[in-house]
Amino acid sequence: MKSIFLSVFTCLMFFSTNVLAQEDEGNSGTVYSKYGTGFPLLNNTAQEKAMGIIGISFNDLGSPGLSNPAFWGIGAFSKIAANFDFANYSVKDSFSNGSNSLLKIGSFQAVFPLSKNQLGLSIGLYPETRSSYNVNSEETVIQGGSNINFLSNRTGTGGVTKFEVGLGWKINQRISLGYAPSYSFLTESEDASLTFLNQNISNNTVNRRINGTSVSHRFGLLLSERGIFGKEDIIQIGGTLTLPTNFDASQKKTTTKIVGTESEVVEIGTAQNADISLPLKMGAGISYFPNSKFNASVEFQTEKWSEAEYGFSSSDESAFVDRNVFGLGFQYHPYKDRSSKFLSNFKYSAGVSYDTGHIKVNNKEVETLWLSAGLGLISPNLRSNSSFDLSFQYGFRGTTSQNLVEERIFGINLSVNLTELMFLRRKLN
């Protein structure tokens, strides 16, 4: 098992450097991430993604979760998790088709039990929204009876990243609460490039950079009850609340010009300040564990994007609509039988989720349907709950009507979860 983890971390280090390299190459995600501060992310773990749920009512003792702070007080293990996402987008619109891909580090989280199975501390770094788009178009402007033909490219990266320190408190066997304040960083960068086929006009790239910081708060609640329909069953009801996050953001545009005889980076226009906000989010879900080998969840989250602000673009702001996410999934744990069969060494997940989208473009909401499945490997060491979780998702987003883009998304998500025993020296072999 140790060799496996070494292999994994070697690969992940390779992934990490590869991520940076690929971003430099301009690999991109969804074109719809151009709006506002980017496409909102759920930050659920790989196994939660595999189940199609958000993670509001579901927890796994072998891995921490970001979705509901109420879970952080449960369990005796220290947990560290890193999530990695790869997505391939097949895109098409009324005129063209193509593909792009995006590989990125998703989130990092560590949960430490301050008081075993009662009070836990979580430290997390994760993206709340992500911009990652790369859109080309061919344009023509008529001037004085002749055409000016040029290629336009807009490449955007960035989004809101949160550094979060929170507490989870298991009040009793039935009730747990959680609170997570966070410091949010807004960093957006867009390069708008013009390449003219007529060499008389200089090619130009304008970099637009938006920065801002804010503090945000979220809360979690978990209600748990055993033995309702059977002796072994457990039912968990979770709820989360994230308060709106308000940024006083600044925007600056720069480009490169020849001034005098030198090439200089100069500021275009004047720096602007504007209000940007992320909306109120509320989520709820129910997970049912009839026995130790099977569980199912159904969850829902609503986000009040219609009340969100994006002061740098009224058209972006007016595109925001309330977002609702529904998830339904189950999980099967044959490994708990301790069978020697190969396929019994994993846990299996499957689910479906539906996202109404947070924007309405050209009078059409950008909806996403995800079909997902996954498997996880638990450490055979009884003193450890370390695990790998791998999920595979296939998503249907958008449409080619209304001048929109239809995306078919194939995603692979990996969560690497390390537990307390990985960090303690054994006193006895």
Partner: protein
């Protein structure tokens, strides 16, 4: 159990390898999908009127240019021009050969026969006289007057359309020149410079054509009559003067010529100040030539060198004439015959105003003196019809 774990480990390694490889082979397929969702980076075109052009006048340094205009022509559009050329042979090569008085003294002129200015159907007649005052090609100006002695004709020639002409000069000039050539004294060079002033080629009053001898290929020759041995003598100095009459006035037009009788200054500071921090991708000064008036003003068989380039350059006030004539232009406007415009790319100059502080602000619009070939043109000015006025066309990123 251990065997099973090894299989699992192998499975995970396989999965991770697939992930790594897939991430490596996944790449962006450049496409234009998304134009309906993400607005393109765009441009807009603004047209800006430019401030008044300030007319200036001067003359040019007319010595040591590549071509020497000789002749007289009364241009129906631009007025009368009478140009006299001055030549002085060098002393060196003839001294080596010891000049015999039994020789012919000849001036050979290589003519740019595709650059005539005037009536090509008539023969132009020229006379050669002795110059009677000292002049230097490095300092002479086109409006200077250099005296010559018309009482003694040293030679003459007629020209219509030849590639070159050879003018046999008088025996008296040969003898005067030979005094210096055959003089062994140490101060002969100084004496030659201060006492021998060369010849003037003067168009007859009935001439209606200006020709342009090319200095490259033009020379003095002495040919010994007995042996026909010839000695080539370089031109030590050469220049021309220009007498203008009936200089024109063009209402609603900008009038330019390359002997600097009329040129203009222009300043873009006011325009640039209204473009605060705009992202100017191209700033193009467009000037419209009055092609109709230019082309219809010449009688049949009359020709005029075309003006195909205009200069827009910075120049120092103290060295204005020199800078306009001899320094490299900062912006060049090439005639676009499809719409009869001269277009100057002044993008960097405008951006210097917007993002910096230009060291030089005053620009001068003129026709390059072009080695002595006369060029003129007229352009529509700020009082002309709106479509033809000088303008600055700005391509702006937005």
């Amino acid at each position: 159990m251990q065997k099973s774990i090894s299989k699992v480990a192998f499975t995970w390694r396989l999965i991770l390898s697939v992930l790594v490889v897939s991430s490596l082979i996944s790449c962006e397929n450049s496409n234009t999908v998304g134009g309906g969702v993400v607005d393109s980076a765009g441009i807009r075109i603004d047209t800006v009127s430019i401030p008044d052009f300030q007319q200036n006048g001067s003359d040019i340094f007319s010595g040591k240019l590549q071509s020497l205009p000789i002749g007289e022509y009364n241009d129906p559009l631009y007025g009368s021009s009478r140009s006299i050329a001055y030549f002085k042979p060098s002393l060196g090569p003839a001294r080596d050969a010891s000049l015999s008085l039994l020789s012919d003294f000849i001036l050979k002129l290589q003519i740019n026969n595709n650059l005539h200015y005037g009536d090509t159907s008539q023969v132009a007649n020229y006379s050669v006289y002795k110059v009677t005052e000292r002049w230097r090609g490095n300092t002479i100006s086109s409006t200077d007057n250099i005296s010559f002695d018309t009482s003694e004709l040293l030679g003459s020639f007629s020209y219509q359309n030849e590639d070159s002409v050879s003018i046999t000069l008088s025996q008296s000039l040969l003898e005067e020149y030979a005094e210096y050539v055959n003089n062994d004294s140490s101060n002969v060079d100084s004496l030659y410079n201060f006492e021998f002033f060369g010849i003037a080629i003067v168009p007859d009053n009935v001439s209606a054509q200006i020709i342009y001898p090319n200095i490259i290929g033009s020379e003095f020759l002495t040919i010994r009559r007995s042996t026909q041995d010839s000695v080539s003598i370089n031109l030590q100095d050469y220049a021309f003067t220009l007498d203008r009459q009936n200089t024109p006035m063009f209402p609603n037009r900008l009038y330019l010529n390359n002997y600097l009788e009329s040129f203009y200054s222009i300043n873009f500071e006011t325009v640039a100040n209204n473009l605060s921090n705009e992202n100017i991708l191209r700033a193009e000064l467009v000037l419209y030539e009055d092609a109709d008036q230019i082309s219809t003003s010449l009688p049949q068989n009359h020709i005029r060198p075309e003006t195909r380039f205009l200069d827009l350059k910075f120049a120092s006030e103290s060295e204005l004439r020199y800078d306009l004539q001899f320094t490299t232009t900062d912006f060049v406007g090439v005639l676009d015959t499809t719409d009869n415009t001269f277009r100057f790319n002044v993008t960097n100059h405008i951006n210097n105003y917007i993002f910096g502080s230009p060291d030089e602000r005053e620009l001068y619009l003129n026709i390059n003196p072009n080695g002595g070939i006369f060029n003129s043109t007229i352009l529509f000015d700020n009082t002309s019809t709106a479509a033809m006025r000088p303008k600055l066309i700005l391509t702006i990123e937005e």
